[in-house]
Point group: C2
Chain length 226, copies 2
Amino acid sequence: MSSRGRSNIDPRGGQPYAAAAMSLVFHSAHPYIPTLRADVRLFQVGEEAWYGGGCDLTPSYLDVADTQAFHRFWKAICDKYKPELHGELKEWCDKYFYIPARKEHRGVGGIFFDDLSSAEAGFDVEAFVREVGDSILPSWLPIVEHHRGEPFTDAQRQWQLLRRGRYIEFNLLYDRGIKFGLDGGRIESIMVSAPPLIAWKYNVVPEPGSPEEDLLKVLQQPRSWP
Amino acid sequence: MSSRGRSNIDPRGGQPYAAAAMSLVFHSAHPYIPTLRADVRLFQVGEEAWYGGGCDLTPSYLDVADTQAFHRFWKAICDKYKPELHGELKEWCDKYFYIPARKEHRGVGGIFFDDLSSAEAGFDVEAFVREVGDSILPSWLPIVEHHRGEPFTDAQRQWQLLRRGRYIEFNLLYDRGIKFGLDGGRIESIMVSAPPLIAWKYNVVPEPGSPEEDLLKVLQQPRSWP
């Protein structure tokens, strides 16, 4: 978890600006509990403000009911602001969290957005972002409650550690937010989002029909979750 | 470990070309045994050939005598080909294996070179590269023999796993060879060089005067090892 805030004079235009962001990442020790990543961001110059943020799930094992509930939860919030908003932000999320070298999405998605202003978006983006911030934990805690008491095997834990390798591949190879943070010299506050323990193994191919293969299928081809 | 070879028609000039490379990475389960990375590479177009390669050490704990012996070993080989060669290739290695975001070198160095041809370098680069390839294991195995029987603690093993985090940061954020391989679609043969188990922890600062701090000091400021 990390949070940060700044306010300053924009070196480009000489105008006062403010930037603030809050990021959350939870890596569970339980292989059935997906990683949650979420953030909200603000960049303001004079009277104008642009917002970014999102919330998405990265499971090691696919739970269809959890995934549907998570997407429905975020759709219900988006629907209050603009009818087509959820479809747009879900697609944005699927596109952003993608590992081209593996032709694999990082997780089962959620919502993602960047550079949204109320003037351009046609709805009250500040109110939306406030609601996103307040909704992060309520979107995830029911999934934690669902799985936290379930037993799991060493092999399932091992699979989770291997999947975390994909998580760090995405972060270090592709994530623009992370590259931005590294250029800003804040590597420890960036890398705190890394999983605490990661494993690598050559060419792991799950058994056909296994739960591990089920996950890979959905990562290779994002679904809509009605 | 990975090895690969190709031969083909250069799509740019229509000339026949050949490319071949052998890479070796050894990650030890013992925290006193440094990671060894080494490779030799050839790119040939018509009658002309360019070579690359290197061999370097990434320890979790600094052993001054081992490090001196390793650098002396490679200096003795380089000296046969050109008096200033070792100094050049050591500096190249120190510059290449560097993590700007941490202001830290990845390891204690060795030798590194790329795009060397006999015509430009003024010595028989093919013979040199053959000798480099033959010398990789002899440069490292004495260090393995030195430490393999020594006892170590859980805390030392944990430090090794944390240091492996730096290894993967370098590979994924900065290594040009890895980016080249990913563009070529060979992610599993690239990522096989990743350590099998890695840990992350926020803002670990070793005790002043500890062996862990000794390592960091030498990574922040490469030495010559007479």
